[in-house]
Subunit: 347 residues, 3 copies
C-alpha cells in the first residue's frame, strides 16, 4: 500500500493554481518536488517550465520576461515558451539540446492543471471531470489551504468520513455519523463509499436550508477520482417536514483538489458546489466560512500526524486498518500500483 | 564506552514527571524517543500509554478522556487504561490484538516514575532509593531544567565535579576544589567518588549556615545510581569555629534525576535535601535560587558541547580521559554494558 | 569537475579574518568545517587553535586566557599557544600527547591568513600575492559578506563576468558586456580571462572618473589565483576625450578573498584597489558603496542557487556549460585535481 514514502505519481493531472494566480509575473511553485516557473504569454496562455536554468541552476522565477521570452537573470540565457534555449549571450550558436523541461498545462477555469510526468501521456481526456462548473442549476465557491503533511493522508481523510463525528463535531459532524454502516463499491474502476445517516443536521447544512431542529436523512458519498481529486457529497432529505425537500433534494458537492508539493507538503484546493440558494450571497458566505473552518480542523489533524511520523522514534509501528478504511485502503493500493507502474512499467 | 550514539537504555526507571504535572488533562511527553500520553484515571492513578493511535498515528494527547476511556480525536477509537482498544465506531467487533503499549508507572511523591522498556522486567524494587524523602530530619526543595544535549554528558558532568572550580566559580566552586585528590570506589556494584576540600566555603553553603569567612572541610561525594540518577552530597565541618558543627555535620544531598527525551535532549529534575535550617523558608529559597543558577551554568556547558558535536566536521576526534574521569568512564562502561545487554542479551 | 560535494581543499592559505577582528578576546570561527579559536598573545601575535578541548569537546572560545595560556572553561585544562596541554588540575602529570591542533597563521595586514591543512606544507611563499597593498600609487578599501552557499559557485561567479549585464545592470554592468568575446589563457599555471568592451561606462566607474557620458574601452580581466582568491580588474581608456586617460590608464583591481566555512557557507572578503583619486575620500566612499551593493547582488544570486540545489528534488539534473564557462570549468577541474591530490596523493 502507498504511504508517505511511496514515490509521487507524476503521470496525472494536478491543480497547478487558481487561474487568477498565474499572470505575466513569474511565479515559482513546487510540484511533486520539482521547482517550476509559471507565467502567461502575451496572448494569455499559461506556461509551466522547469524553474532551474540549464546552465547554473539559477531560478528562472527570479529572472524576467522579455515579451514571451524568458531570460535568465544570471547569464542571460533565453528560452522560448516551449523551454527551448534560443539565445546565449556569451556564444553565437545555441546547441539544439539545451532546453528546459516543459510541463503540459490546461486551463479550465477556475483552475489551471499541470501534468508533472511524461508529456507524451498527458491526454486532456484524462483531466478529471468537474461536474457542475458550468451548470446553471449549481453555484460554486472555493478556497485553498496548505498542509505540512503527506497527500496520502489527506486522500485517506476524505475517504473515511467517520472522522466527522470527532474532528468536526462543531461543523460537519453529528454523533451518529461515525456509526452509520457504509456501503462501498470498489473495483478496477471505482473506489466509492456511501452511508445514510438519520440525524438532526449539523448547522452547516441546517442553517442555510432553514432546517434547524428538523430530522433529516443525510446521504453521504465519497469517491476517489485520481491522486489529485476526491469528491464528497451530501444529499439531504427533510424527514420532519417532507415538503421542504419535496421539489428536489438539496445537495452539497465538494471537490477536493490535492497537489503534493513534496511528499511532506501538500496544496489543498477545494470547490464547494450546491444546488440550492444559488443567488444567496449570505448562504455562499456562510458555507465558505463553515467549510473553511472544518477543513482547517483537518489540516490540524494531518499536521499532528505528520509530526508524529517525524518525531516518534519507536522502532516498529504498524498501522491497524479498521472497517471504515475500506475505501482508503483501496486508494492506497491504487496509488501503489500507479507508482509501481510509473517506475517499472506494466508487468 | 557509551556515548551520544549508544542506544538508550529502556529497562530502567526514569522520572516521568513531578506528581502535580500529571492530572486529568492529557499530557504528551517523549521518553527515550517514544511519544507517550500521560493522565490520571478518575481515582487518581497515573497512566502512561503510547501516544500514537494504533490506527492512523493521531496523537492521543490531542484527543479526550471519557471517564477513564481514552477516545482518539480522529476516528474515535476507544482505549481503556491498560491500552486495550475497546471500541471502534465504524465496526461492531473489536479485534483482540489492537492495543496501545502501556508503560509501567509508579508514583512516589514528589515524582512519577516510568519504565520505558520491557514491562515484564519492571520490578518496583529497582526504583532508585530517595533516601530522605520522608525523613523528618531532612527538608527538600527541587526544580527542573531542559537540556538540548545528551544525557550521557549530564551524567558525566555530575560524576566529575572538578568542573566546580571553573563552571561554578561564583556558586558551588572554590579554587582548590579541582585540585583536591579523589578517592574512587568502582566495582560491579558501585561507582562512587569522594574528595576532601579544605576551603573557605562558597556562598551557597556559607551563607545559609552563617559560616561566611570560616575555614571548613568540605567532604564531597558523588554516586552513580542508575542511568536515571546520580547523587551528590557535601558534608561540612567548620574548622575556624568547630563548635558551629559540633552537634551534627550539616549536609546537602542532591539527587539529579535524568530522563532522556531523545539521545540529544534531556529532562533534568533535581531534588536538594538538607539536614539543617529545616523550617527556614529563607534558607530554602536561597538554596533553590543558587542551585538553579549553578545548574543553569551546567546546561550552558552541556549545550555548548552538544553544538560542538553537531557542528564541528573535523574527520576524527577522540576525547582524552583524565584522572577526574575515573567515575565518568566507569559510568560510560556501565551504560554500554546495559545497552549491549538490552540489544543482544547476556553473553 | 569540483562541485559543492567535492571535499574542501585544506592545504591552502585562506583569509582567516581582518587583522582588527582578532584581539585578546577569544573568537570562534569555522574554517572548512573545523571549529577554530583565534586570539592574540600578549605580544600581539595571532594564534589559531582547534576550538574543541581534547578532553570533553568544550569550546575553548567559551573559556578564558590566563596570560598566554588558554584555560578550558569546563575542567580547567591549560594549553599553551602551540596547543600543547601544560596543565590538568585533577592530575599531577600531563601526558605528552595531549595537544590541540595548531593552525599555521600569517598576518599580512589588513588580513590574517590561515592554513587549515597539513602544517608541514604551509609554506609562507604560497601566500597569494596582494599586489598593491603597500604601493603608494594605489589606494585600497574593502569589505566582507557572508554567503549561504558553496564557495565553488562564488569562484565561478567571479570567473565569468558575463553576468554583469544581467545581475549588475545597475552597478557594474552594461548591455554589451555579456556579448564581448573573451580571450582565455588556460594552462597548468594560469586560468585567466580577458575581454575588451567598448561602452558608455557604468556609473561605478564613470562617476568617480568624471567620465559620465563618455565612450570608453573597458578592458576587463579575471584570474584564478587559488581556491581562496580570484582577481578581477578593469583597465579604462577614454575614447570620447582621449586626453582624460592620456597620462595613465585608470585601473580598478579587485581581490576577492574566499574562505569556505563549510561546503555550504562561505566568507567573502574583498579588497578594491584603484590607481586614481588616491586621496579622495568621496571617491573611496562611493566605490565602496557601489561595490558592496553589487556584491550583495551576487550574494542574492548565489543563495538562490544554493536554495535550488537544496530544494529541487528532480531526479537527474546536469548543468550545461557555455562559452563563458571556460575559465570556470578550468577552475573546477583544478579544484578537483587539488582535492584528489589531498585525499589520494599524487598518481
Amino acid at each position: 500500500m502507498a504511504n508517505r514514502d511511496t514515490p509521487l505519481i507524476r503521470n496525472n493531472w494536478y491543480v497547478a493554481a487558481r487561474s487568477e494566480e498565474i499572470t505575466r509575473k513569474l511565479s515559482a511553485r513546487q510540484y511533486l518536488g520539482t521547482s517550476t516557473v509559471l507565467f502567461r504569454t502575451q496572448d494569455g496562455t499559461p506556461v509551466a517550465l522547469q524553474n532551474r536554468c540549464c546552465h547554473r541552476s539559477f531560478p528562472l522565477s527570479e529572472s524576467k520576461l522579455d515579451g514571451d521570452v524568458l531570460e535568465c537573470g544570471y547569464h542571460g540565457l533565453r528560452y522560448d515558451c516551449t523551454g527551448k534555449c534560443i539565445g546565449i549571450p556569451s556564444q553565437k550558436k545555441v546547441p539544439e539540446n539545451i532546453r528546459l523541461r516543459s510541463f503540459p498545462i490546461i486551463e479550465r477555469k477556475p483552475f489551471i492543471w499541470i501534468w508533472p510526468g511524461d508529456p507524451a501521456l498527458a491526454d486532456p481526456a484524462l483531466l478529471p471531470v468537474q461536474e457542475f462548473i458550468d451548470d446553471p442549476e449549481w453555484a460554486s465557491i472555493g478556497g485553498h489551504l496548505k498542509i505540512t503533511g503527506s497527500y496520502v493522508h489527506l486522500l485517506e481523510n476524505l475517504l473515511d468520513l467517520s472522522h466527522l463525528t470527532f474532528v468536526h463535531d462543531k461543523t460537519f459532524g453529528t454523533p451518529e455519523y461515525a456509526r452509520a454502516p457504509i456501503e462501498v463499491k470498489i473495483d478496477d474502476e471505482n473506489i466509492e463509499v456511501w452511508r445514510n445517516v438519520e440525524c438532526t443536521l449539523p448547522p452547516m447544512f441546517a442553517k442555510p436550508l432553514g432546517w434547524e431542529g428538523d430530522r433529516a436523512m443525510r446521504t453521504s458519498g465519497g469517491r476517489f477520482v485520481s491522486p489529485a481529486m476526491v469528491v464528497n457529497q451530501a444529499i439531504l432529505k427533510n424527514l420532519s417536514s417532507p415538503e421542504k425537500s419535496s421539489d428536489h433534494l438539496p445537495r452539497v458537492y465538494v471537490e477536493s483538489l490535492i497537489t503534493p508539493e513534496t511528499s511532506t507538503s501538500t496544496n489543498y484546493y477545494f470547490s464547494i458546489n450546491r444546488n440550492f440558494s444559488l443567488d444567496d450571497d449570505e448562504v455562499a458566505k456562510f458555507l465558505l466560512e463553515s467549510t473553511s473552518t472544518a477543513f482547517k480542523e483537518d489540516v490540524v489533524v494531518l499536521e499532528h500526524i505528520h509530526k508524529m511520523w517525524e518525531s516518534d522514534q519507536t522502532d516498529s509501528f504498524y498501522e491497524t486498518a479498521i472497517a471504515g478504511d475500506k475505501p482508503g485502503v483501496a486508494m492506497r493500493r491504487r496509488l501503489k500500483k500507479m507508482a509501481d507502474l510509473e517506475r517499472h512499467g506494466p508487468d
